[in-house]
């Protein structure tokens, strides 16, 4: 259920290393608990993000939820598809609904992220 090619945060984001960069999204666990996503508030390319600090918002029919950055760095890419198709987050949170790509500032932060196993345990799906 939770791909081992990436790491995770306590706040239900995933982080995928691609060379020197990190792609970020929300997990299936989060997507399933959101009601229908209708807007995603994205940062601008070039914006700074800080680990464990909100960088954007997912607005669903029921509530707004903050998005927390897994690592500190600069936003180098933003998923424009989410502007017109926010429901992608409900449909494909680990793939097409990636949210931002970050150029990380501090390589040591990576080790503090949860492994797939640790995240699966956190959300009660040990061994998934």
């Amino acid at each position: 259920m939770y791909p081992s090619d990436r790491r995770y945060t306590q706040e239900h984001e995933w982080a995928l290393r691609e060379g020197s960069r990190v792609r970020v999204g929300v997990t299936q666990f989060a997507a399933e608990r959101l009601s229908d996503v209708v807007f995603v508030e994205l940062p601008a390319v070039g914006a700074d993000v800080r680990a464990a600090t909100p960088f954007g918002v997912v607005e669903s029919v029921k509530a707004a939820s903050d998005l927390f950055a897994p690592v500190t760095g600069r936003v180098v890419e933003v998923n424009a598809a989410l502007v017109d198709n926010p429901e992608l987050i409900n449909q494909d949170p680990h793939g097409a609904a990636w949210i931002i790509v970050v150029e990380p500032a501090d390589a040591t932060e990576w080790d503090r992220l949860l492994t797939a196993d640790a995240y699966a345990k956190l959300v009660g799906e040990a061994g998934a």
């Binding site: 984001e13 009601s35 209708v38 607005e59 669903s60 029919v61 903050d66 409900n90």
Partner: protein
């Protein structure tokens, strides 16, 4: 992202709990009950009710019976609407007010006969309502029958077709806010009313607590050819908001009056004396200083309860309810503003998180079901 933690502690379950789980519901705590918030998705369920038919479990609501020779007198004192106009098996929607005109709850009162009136009350205010009614009961008997009474709601343009398939009763003659007892559904004797909280045609079906699964299964089976879906509290809220219906605790409370809310039509000043009459008469004479308005937001931001409402840069009020309308595909909301800002077309702003987004006062309801 932040996710609300699930609440631990004793919560009650309706007799349909296992049915909801089997149907794929996500359960959440609500007013001391574990209730389905959604099954397939809020928007899907919402649009199903607008275009076809949906079924809701609303057994968490309270049912309080007022009985005896003094029953009508008690009801009339408690509510602003005129229960003396009711024939047997007819009901009405009404606030119950305090002496200062604030709203204790909004309820439905159904007259069973001249000695029995049933009050259907919100789950969140059930205990308070029961105590309030008992305080004002005079010599009437007050009986809480909630624990024995399950309530299902069937709503949508196909609701009548579905219920007529499920029962031998012809429901066409049943008018809005009319009740019919002893309607057999799946071998269960139910009481059916043409009432609801969505703005669509529909029926609420009351039955003994343990019989709810049999009734639900029968109605769902009858509804399959019509595309029936189970509907959770998430869509219940978006549906009622589109229809301009009040949610107690958000849009109305003890701090608001029926004249400030769009409920002046429920206040029958010409009937016998009732709680709040003098205060409301005074407010009507002076003109309410604030009004609950509906508004639409022009940008991609959803107004939520407690967001500030501004005129220019002046805060003038607060959002009481807000959502993204699945049917209209735009953000809508309700909130109190000073009367001078309540005219349809007034430009206002809503503070969503740290951003001021432009909005406009619109006529309520946001959605009205097409005639015919």
């Amino acid at each position: 992202m932040s996710i609300h933690p699930t609440t631990t502690g004793a919560v009650r379950r309706t007799s349909l709990f296992d049915v909801h789980l089997a149907a794929g519901a996500r359960m959440v705590p609500f007013a001391g009950w574990e209730m389905p918030v959604q099954y397939t998705g809020v928007s899907d369920e919402h649009l199903a009710v607008r275009t076809r038919v949906g079924i809701f479990d609303v057994s968490h609501m309270g049912e309080i019976l007022i009985e005896g020779a003094d029953a009508l007198r008690t009801v009339q004192h408690l509510v602003t609407n005129d229960a003396a106009r009711l024939a047997d098996e007819c009901g009405l929607y009404t606030p119950m007010c305090t002496p200062s005109g604030g709203i204790v709850d909004d309820i439905v009162v159904a007259r069973e006969d001249e000695r029995r009136y049933l009050c259907i009350v919100n789950a969140a205010t059930h205990e308070g309502d029961l105590a309030w009614i008992r305080t004002h009961a005079g010599t009437a008997t007050v009986r809480d029958v909630s624990d024995e009474t399950a309530l299902l709601s069937l709503q949508g343009p196909k609701a009548q077709a579905v219920l007529e398939t499920a029962t031998s009763t012809d429901l066409a003659p049943l008018a809005r806010f009319q009740w019919r007892a002893a309607v057999p559904v799946g071998g269960v004797k139910t009481t059916v009313s043409r009432t609801g909280y969505t703005g669509e045609d529909g029926f609420e079906i009351a039955c003994p607590w343990e019989a709810a699964p049999a009734v639900w299964d029968t109605v769902v089976a009858a509804g399959k050819p019509f595309g029936i879906v189970p509907v959770g509290l998430g869509a219940r809220d978006t549906l009622r908001l589109e229809a301009g219906l009040m949610l107690y605790g958000n849009d109305i409370s003890e701090d608001t009056t029926p004249l400030e809310a769009p409920l002046a039509w429920t206040v029958k000043f010409d009937k016998v004396e009732f709680n709040g009459r003098a205060a409301l008469l005074q407010q009507r004479a002076d003109g309410p200083r604030r009004r609950l308005v509906g508004f639409e937001v022009a940008e991609r931001a959803i107004p939520r309860q407690h967001c500030r409402i501004l005129a220019g840069d002046r805060p003038i009020g607060e959002v009481t309810s807000g959502t993204f309308s699945p049917l209209l595909r735009r953000p809508i909301g309700l909130g109190y503003v000073p009367t001078e800002y309540s005219a349809v077309g007034t430009a206002i702003a809503v503070e969503v998180r740290d951003r001021l987004v432009p909005a406009q006062v619109v006529r309520l309801p946001f959605y009205r079901r097409p005639r015919g």
